[in-house]
Amino acid sequence: MAQLPASGLAIRRMSASSTPAPGIRSEGPEYAKLVDISRCIGCKGCEIACKEWNELGIEPTENFGSFQSHRDLSADTWLLMRFTEVEVGGDVAWFIKKDACLHCAEPGCLFACPAPGAIVQYENGIVDFNQANCIGCQLCVSGCPFDIPRFNPATRKVYKCNMCIDRVEAGLEPACAKTCPTNAISWGTKEDMVALGERKVEGLRARGLANAVLYDPPGVGGTHMMYVVPHGDQLDQYDLPADPTAGAGALAMLGTVRKLGASALGLGLLAAGLHYLGFGPQVPEEDAK
């Protein structure tokens, strides 16, 4: 069991900014959430706890023929339980997935972001959006391989799960992890959660779920929300990309920003854009080498 000292919230990366010196990278542990889908009952305890803790707005929802509360994530719904009915070997199965930011080690959103300091990645693994710096360009949305960030047209900012960074900084687990009634969400160091995830996968395989996998995709450097997936051969049914990557989307967006220029965008975006053009987008470490 790795030590869990209080996080110092040292910064690893900031959007559209020079990467902080490598010397600080060893500071503090990396944390991770592990979502064990085989224990998830889709109760939405995490969804509610997230909205309650983060004081997100209540949205008018309507039943659209599903147990799912909202059709999609939104600027006020950072965590959504998605329900899919499938047939597995002639039996019905109900795939229930907690959809929220995975907090990639190589965050496509951050790499794509042209606004300095709008997206910050801490040494503890949390990728945090800084709305006051956000210029509303939504390049992060395109940069995310998991389609997580959501734009709020009223505030013209983009939002997503911040892993309850205020709680983590104070030495508490995120609200979703604390509340989960069936311990489908575990919280600890990335190292411990990977080990736990591997044990869980072994257990599921022993119970006959031969395709069980730990979802911690290397294409994004691994994630700080990982899944134990009982039916790993059906990742698409969980809406989990088999091989997500960071960087490609972000780089593709570069041209778009150049085209946008200053015309339709506010002064803030102009300033940020200029800065962005100066620094260029961040790229995954592998690519930077």
Partner: protein, 796 residues
């Protein structure tokens, strides 16, 4: 709960939430704990992941519990006894029962007298005229020594085990399949898991809830489960039991404290008109021992009853006035929910008080309830929220100008503004702190109750009236008589030695000579001279089995698993050393608080101390509709009873006026089976005031099986109308693969699912599910048959 008392001696969850982690098989049937008890359900998953336990669900729907279960069996609503009967048959035919346990701890070896029989759907002693049984025809054969004759070999054809085998021999897999609508093969696959725990090394538990109680045969469904668990040797053991999952924070406590027709605190019984004296009353509930060595704890009935009367009437309860025996009203007949509303429906009820209870949405047949409520002279509703039951005159389709009932609404304090204790399903009474103050202009329940009492008492003093001696003499020695504190009440419940004024530690100290008081004997020990035991917060668990004796207080006597003597064998050795409930050391029992004399040797008495048999009952005379559970069709059923066509429905149910006419008369007009339920995002009705929960599950919906939706042209998310002869609902269709077609008695049957949470007063409003349900109840408990009825459906 009637059923558990008839089987084991007490009507309560046998084990407790955390104990479920000790199981090898978790059968979830008549319940949906992932949705309705999520935090308790975690212990089933702990058993699965830590012990390799199997979780299985049997339900008319594939639920969110099924989503994490190892196997699911879909059955028709109301076919539970057929399924359980099929398992009992298998266990007996294939000798899968835990033989030593059955011989030692049940009445399997007891000989039943010759007059008992079962033929064509009727047990011996049925009287057509009154639709009741003469239960004296279901009796044991007595020996010359005055005790029951027994056959330890259990071979005698008149012994309980053999009668049981004969009774359930009809429940073959094909019969079960034809009744329940599943395939015989699927049933058998499920049976392999469910019937696998009849050994010393394995234990299985059952989680059930109102999916079992809410039937005309609800009590007997639970009886069938009790029989099965006894055969498998699963009662009294950690990881075993029959766990009744209660649906409100203090259902258990409110039942213990007897806000219940027919009972007094601590499961004492309301006196009846025929019991003309205290002695006659006590005699009726003080059973004679049926075997040589039995604790037969109810022989202490008079101690509990006298102590209750001392608690209520103090100095005024004396031997001279039969301990105020006649201060307690003696009901003329059934006084439960359905009978109450039937009285109102017939115009015989004047006033009605609903405290913390949405009476309009909660009951069956809303239209009938509105009529009944409109017949009242007055109604008082006490609740933190103004809900539908207070505004029944404003319900859709009701013309307020025609409703003459006067209604008073009183805003009451909320749980978080008050201390006091809640008792959970597992019998743990936990004290809570008041977090905030009761707002100005709002009053506590305690204040309202005591103010009502005082004002009525004062009116009697001023103007006289009907006999009111009990009101005058009610013991009321609280520091502030207009609002007792919860602490004062808790101590009164625990009870005192009236000679010394000291709080008692145990109900063993209660006396029937008037020297002790206890407001509820099963809570004696909850607040002693050492303080408030319900507020304890010790987290230690030395056994690792989850007993947590230092946390809160579990009745009785802080015992965590009921009937735990049965967790050990004849010598007092645990059946399973890794899951020892209690253990005999040679001089005393260790482990959990023993449900047995602390120093009584293993052979000193039978393991079930609350029964006159000293053992648990596979055969019982305690229920009105039979000593064994038998499958009867729901009052409104898509098929005749294939076991006995002439006696299709439970013959002992009470038919209230006009109810027969309110049922579907054929399956052409009402072809679909229907059932009602909760979803995890909501809790009955109060959550319709909570924005986050309304957002999470906004609208009334109907679950429509995919095949039926295709047949009827219902796209997912479109609106459908569903109706029964009693009313209709309309909502969004959730078209689902999770409900499949059944084949019942040779015909295809579809099931429609209907959630209960909507009304006309919430943040979002929607159809009231109980507009559809029938006004009929269980033969023993009168618990309404919400869970199985017929409907029709069409796209809107």
């Amino acid at each position: 709960m009637a059923s558990l008392a008839a089987s084991f001696g007490r009507g309560a969850m046998t084990n407790h939430w955390k104990d479920i982690k000790n199981a090898d098989v978790v059968l979830v049937m008549g319940a949906n704990p992932a949705e309705n008890h999520p935090c308790g359900f975690k212990w089933a998953l702990e058993a699965r992941d830590n012990r390799g336990a199997q979780i299985v669900t049997v339900d008319p729907r594939y639920t969110r519990t099924s989503a994490v279960a190892d196997r699911h069996l879909q059955i028709r609503p109301g076919s539970d006894i057929a399924v359980l009967g099929g398992w009992i048959r298998k266990i007996l035919e294939e000798r899968l029962y835990h033989e030593d346990y059955v011989r030692l701890h049940t009445n399997a070896s007891f000989i039943v007298a010759d007059d008992f029989s079962f033929e064509d759907g009727l047990f011996a002693g049925f009287d057509e005229a009154t639709s009741t049984y003469d239960r004296s025809q279901w009796r044991y054969e007595m020996g010359g020594d005055g005790f029951v004759r027994r056959d330890p070999t259990m071979e005698n054809p008149r012994c309980v085990l053999q009668l049981l085998r004969m009774h359930y021999s009809r429940y073959t897999p094909d019969v079960v399949a034809s009744i329940a609508g599943c395939s015989a093969a699927d049933f058998e696959r499920m049976s392999e898991i469910v019937c696998s725990t009849g050994t010393a090394e394995r234990v299985g538990t059952i989680m059930y809830a109102v999916g079992w109680t809410m039937h005309t045969v609800g009590t007997q469904i639970i009886r069938a489960a009790a029989i099965m668990q006894l055969l498998l040797g699963n009662i009294g053991r950690p990881g075993g039991g029959i766990n009744a999952l209660r649906g409100h924070a203090n259902v258990q406590g409110a039942t213990d404290h007897a806000i219940v027709a027919g009972s007094l605190p601590g499961y004492l019984t309301m006196p009846t008109p025929a019991q003309a004296s205290f002695a006659a009353h006590v005699a009726a509930y003080t059973p004679r021992p049926l075997v040589e060595r039995t604790v037969n704890y109810w022989t202490n009935y008079s101690r509990f009853m006298v102590s209750l009367m001392k608690s209520w009437f103090g100095e005024s309860a004396t031997p001279a006035n039969d301990y105020a025996y006649h201060y307690i009203g003696k009901p003329g007949g059934d006084a439960t929910w359905l009978s109450m509303w039937d009285e109102a429906h017939q115009g015989r009820m004047r006033g009605f008080v609903a405290l913390g209870f949405n009476t309009l949405l909660a009951g069956p047949d809303v239209k009938r309830l509105v009529t009944a409520m409109s017949n009242l002279e007055w109604k008082v509703v006490i609740d933190p929220f103004l809900h539908e039951a207070a505004e029944f005159w404003n319900a859709p389709g009701v013309d307020a100008s025609q409703v003459q009932t006067e209604v008073l609404y009183l805003p009451a304090a909320h749980w978080i503004e008050r201390g006091g204790s809640f008792t959970n399903s597992g019998r743990w009474a936990q004290w809570k702190e008041a977090a905030i103050d009761v707002p100005k202009d709002v009053r506590s329940d305690t204040w309202i109750l005591s103010e009502l009492f005082w004002r009525v008492k004062e009116l009697y003093a001023e103007e006289g009236g009907a006999w009111h001696e009990p009101i005058n003499n009610l013991r009321w020695d609280y520091a502030n008589p207009r609002e007792p504190t919860l602490e004062e009440l808790a101590r009164e419940i625990n009870g005192y030695d009236l000679t010394t004024g000291r709080l008692l530690n145990s109900f063993a100290e209660l006396r029937d000579d008037g020297t002790t008081s206890s407001g509820n004997w099963i809570y004696t020990g909850s607040w002693t001279e050492q303080g408030n035991m319900m507020a304890r917060r010790g987290t230690e668990d030395p056994s690792g089995l989850g007993f947590h004796h230092g946390w809160a207080f579990a009745w009785p006597l802080n015992r965590r698993v009921l009937y735990n003597r049965a967790s050990a064998d004849a010598d007092g050795e645990p059946w399973d050393q890794t899951r020892a409930g209690i253990r005999w050391t040679g001089s005393r029992w260790t482990g959990d608080v023993p449900d047995f004399g602390a120093t009584t040797p293993p052979d000193g008495a039978g393991a079930f101390i609350m029964t006159e048999e000293g053992v648990a009952r596979l055969f019982t005379t305690g229920l009105v509709d039979g000593p064994f559970a038998e499958h009867y069709e729901p009052a409104e059923s898509p098929t005749v009873n294939i076991l006995h066509e002439r006696v299709s429905v439970n013959p002992t149910v009470r038919w209230y006026d006009g109810v027969r006419e309110s049922l579907a008369q054929n399956t052409e007009d009402y072809p679909y089976a229907a059932t009602v339920y909760r979803v995890v995002e909501r809790e009955h009705f109060v959550t319709s005031h909570v924005p986050l929960l309304v957002e999470a599950m906004p609208d009334f919906f109907l679950e429509i099986p995919e095949g039926l939706a295709i047949e009827k042209g219902v796209p997912n998310g479109s609106r459908v109308r569903v109706w029964s002869p009693r009313g209709e609902v309309e909502g969004v269709a959730i078209v689902t693969k999770r409900i499949r077609p059944l084949t019942v008695n040779g015909r295809t049957l579809w099931t429609i699912g209907i959630p209960v949470h909507w009304g006309f007063k919430g943040i979002t409003t929607g159809s009231m599910a109980n507009s559809l349900t029938p006004f009929i109840g269980d033969a023993n408990t009168r618990c309404p048959e919400f869970k199985a009825f017929l409907v029709n459906m069409e796209p809107v």
